[in-house]
Amino acid sequence: MSNSTISNAPFSEPRMSGMPMPATWPRRRLGGDLLIRLRQNIGVVTAIGLFCVIYLFYHFAHPKGFSSAVFVQNADEVFTLAMVAMAQTLPVLAAGLDLSVGAVMTMVGCLASYLMSGAAQGTPIEFSFGGTSHVLAVLPGGVIGIIIGVIICFVAGTLAGFVNGCVVVYGRIQPIIATLATGAIYIGIALFLRPTPGGKIDEDLNWALTNSLQDFASTVHIFDDGNAPWFAPLGAIPVPFILIVVIALVVWVPFRRSVTGRSVYAIGSAEGAAYMSGLRIDRAKLAAFTLAGFFAGCGGLFLAIQTSSGNADIPQAGAYTLNSIAAVVIGGTSLLGGTGGAIGSIFGALILRVISFFFRIFDIAPLLQPLFEGIILLAAVSIGALRVLRVKNTLELFR
């Protein structure tokens, strides 16, 4: 056969276009859009399913199962971890890791323990240095003081996250080491603020936010002190649950639908391609860490309100950070970045907490708790890894 005829023959002759395409080519791989969405969010779906199963089981096993009191208590215990897990989600989506979320939570909690006293004459903010106590500022008292205090806590958390972002983006330092360092700084600030546990939180504020909607309404005197007939069916809902839903809807959902949010996913998916697509990488990373700081700050604020004190507890900060990573993974977000979301992480946090609830009702020796928690965590994470068994093309395991 002759090679010259081949190399000289232009390939674009209309002989191709005259041929009909085979009817079966190409085939649709999957049925409906719903199936595609389900398959792509399998991690979150699994987490929600798992949570529903174990939480139902918990209520059946609990002597006071399905009561408002149990719901309220559970919601109180979950809120902070859920917030810290949401915080962790953002850097993870951008293929990073934030080791300072627990520290930011602790720092904001210590700050909040000064700002929420609700005292009529106002609150002094002190910190100790060189053995003496210094008064930093005095806030106005009453409700206005509390509102200002909440805003200050939000700003403090957000600022801490922003600093993390700046170190990562402009310092070009890997997130894991950058936040290890800044986390130590935030714990240091927390220790300045609260060398020993203490502080005061307005009692009404504590009561209103850590109980049911009914209690909230009666404390702040709305809806006939919560006795309005239409309000009755909603009365049993725990306030922290409402807060999680509101924060998710008002902060997370819009963020995810924004260009910046999309960019965060893009960075975690393929940073080079994201840059080549003309996305603003620096801004998105900065936003991810900043928003992480905000969520962690929300967690710290609530923790202070719930415990009516501030405590620069270093082991607690570390435990929250590590649990946040576990919650993110259980919630279906890949540590490689690019897939998942904060809603999944909320369910991850729920699952982690429900596991620890079981220790209470089954009366397991406290010394065994870490052992069991570890085993159960490993089992829970392995469920996500089960898909590996169904993979027929082993190359896909390494992508």
Partner: protein, 524 residues
């Protein structure tokens, strides 16, 4: 003549983009030197040259990915600077790069609208985004892609079409395609041609870079040849013959494109497949490859050719049927098993950047990585053995390296591919599986690969060679098996091995042709 064409070019009023005196160095390496270049609206302008000639750098400068060290760039007479890809986008330059720039975890719709998604009240309007994706995909004849699918889950050829849709969606004034068709099937290439014709009619300037001469031949209105970082010549298409162009590109004449096929009796079968099935993607594959034979796998992209190679290399679980190697039935369970001396299979994978190479590791490390077990002394890798093996590998494929300690990512595409091939040759395989090994590499290197394949076959190696380029299959292979929908529909050999037969079988137009005896089909 060179000077003449430059003057003629820059003087034109219609020039859309004009580069003058552009230079770029990477460390000590000159990528572009004092380049003057211009392209017009409503023309398809081909940029030709071997890898390392400076085409990619030129394109990257136009797209704002790299900044020139010297020189100016004018867009419709205005001097411009593109410090980032987004600034180039904003000025109306849309580019499709050789390295795919899609985000694998995001959906097709997300990817298409990634630079400027449709918004409502400040947020991304997912419904509008989806409609937009559907419209753009329809425009390039890709209605079969569901915009909800993740890019990760699409085959390479579809991904490339998504990339084209994405660039098209930016409403470009200058459309840059860098090897944009290298992974496409011929049917898709036709669709891209039609799209380019429409863009041309809309008076849009198009820069087209491709190693496939027949594409350039079909499309180009003008062409510029680059060599060693310099602009050699720009001419209207047709004023130079293909032979002359090739000579301008490589500075030497290429007499024969493909090494001659020896006429010799078929050797003993090295690889024999019987009724191989996997997951409805491979159906009853039966094929024989003799020692010393090059067997091609042809057909439309995604008909099971790559899957077959993966199955043989032990990547797929649940393969049923028979694999017989040198008379012994084997069941490859992993690549580690497949490459072991008793089996002796090597696979040059589809994507050299992710499956072929460890990009940040050195050239030497990459070369030795598959044959480390032969380089051991006790439990340690023997440095001296490793060094001599690496040197042999570099020499055998004539890989152009400065220092084998350099990261493999510093090499040009063609040389990277040579490293992948050399790495596998160092395992001394009896069977070599090649998955589109010449995709996106220059003519010179391609020919070296063809020659090498024939050399290996002469030494008794059995080669199974998948290529999307029909020319290549015809020129290189002793026999070509055409796959369609997971089956081998026809085997072509000798005088039957023609472009026409490949295309008819690939499209499975005439079911009878698949079973008709050789000789008759040529008259269809």
């Amino acid at each position: 003549m060179v000077e003449e064409s430059r003057v003629e070019n820059t003087a034109k009023e219609r020039d859309f983009l004009v580069l003058s005196g552009i230079s770029k160095r990477y460390g000590g390496v000159v990528a572009l030197e004092n380049v003057d270049f211009a392209c017009e609206r409503g023309k398809i302008h081909a940029v030709l040259g071997e890898n390392g000639a400076g085409k990619s750098t030129l394109i990257k400068i136009v797209a704002g990915v790299v900044q020139p060290d010297a020189g100016t760039m004018r867009l419709e007479g205005e001097e411009v600077r593109f410090p980032s890809p987004s600034s180039a986008n904003a000025a109306g330059v849309a580019s499709i790069f050789q390295e795919l720039s899609l985000l694998p975890d995001l959906s097709v719709a997300d990817n298409i609208s990634i630079t400027s998604p449709p918004r409502r009240l400040g947020f991304i309007d997912t419904k509008a985004q989806r409609r937009r994706a559907e419209a753009l995909l329809a425009e390039i004849g890709c209605e079969d892609v569901n915009p909800l699918m993740r890019v990760r889950d699409l085959p390479l050829s579809r991904r490339q079409m998504v990339e084209i849709a994405k660039a098209l969606g930016q409403k470009p004034q200058l459309f840059v395609l860098d090897e944009a068709t290298s992974a496409l099937t011929s049917a898709d290439v036709e669709k891209v041609y039609a799209m380019l014709a429409r863009l041309k009619a809309q008076n849009i300037a198009i820069l087209y870079i491709s190693h496939r001469m027949h594409e350039v031949e079909a499309l180009a209105d003008r062409a510029s040849v680059f060599r060693n970082g310099r602009h050699i010549e720009t001419f209207d298409w047709g004023r130079r013959s293909t032979g002359e162009i090739v000579q301008l590109m490589i500075g030497r004449d290429i007499a024969t494109q493909y090494p001659p096929k020896p006429l010799r009796p078929k050797g003993k079968p090295a690889l024999k497949l019987g009724n191989l099935c996997w997951e409805r993607r491979l159906e009853a594959i039966s094929l024989e490859v003799a020692a010393g034979e090059i067997v091609g796998l042809g057909g439309l992209d995604g008909q099971g050719q790559k899957t077959l190679l993966l199955a043989l290399f032990g990547v797929l679980r649940g393969v049923t049927g028979e694999i017989v190697i040198n008379g012994k039935p084997v069941r490859p369970s992993s690549p580690a098993f497949a490459k072991s001396p008793s089996v002796g299979i090597a696979l040059v994978p589809e994507d050299r950047k992710t499956e072929g190479l460890m990009l940040p590791m050195s050239i030497a490390d990459n070369l030795a990585i598959a044959s480390l077990h032969t380089l051991e002394t006790g439990p340690f890798v023997d440095r001296a053995k490793e060094r001599s093996a690496v040197e042999k590998g570099i020499a055998r494929l004539r890989i152009k390296v400065g220092d084998s300690k350099d990261a493999v990512s510093t090499l040009s595409g063609g040389n990277q591919q040579k490293v992948v091939i050399a790495k596998w040759l160092m395992t001394e395989p009896g069977i070599i599986l090649l998955n589109d090994p010449t995709r996106g590499i220059d003519v010179g290197t391609k020919q070296e690969i063809y020659r090498l394949m024939r050399e290996l076959a002469d030494q008794g190696v059995a080669i199974l060679f998948y290529s999307t380029d029909y020319d290549e299959l015809i020129g290189c292979c002793d026999r070509v098996a055409i796959m369609y929908d997971g089956r081998i529909v026809r085997e072509l050999e000798g005088t039957d091995l023609t472009e026409h037969n490949i295309i008819t079988s690939a499209l499975n137009i005439d079911g009878a042709a698949a079973t008709s005896p050789p000789g008759e089909a040529t008259h269809v």
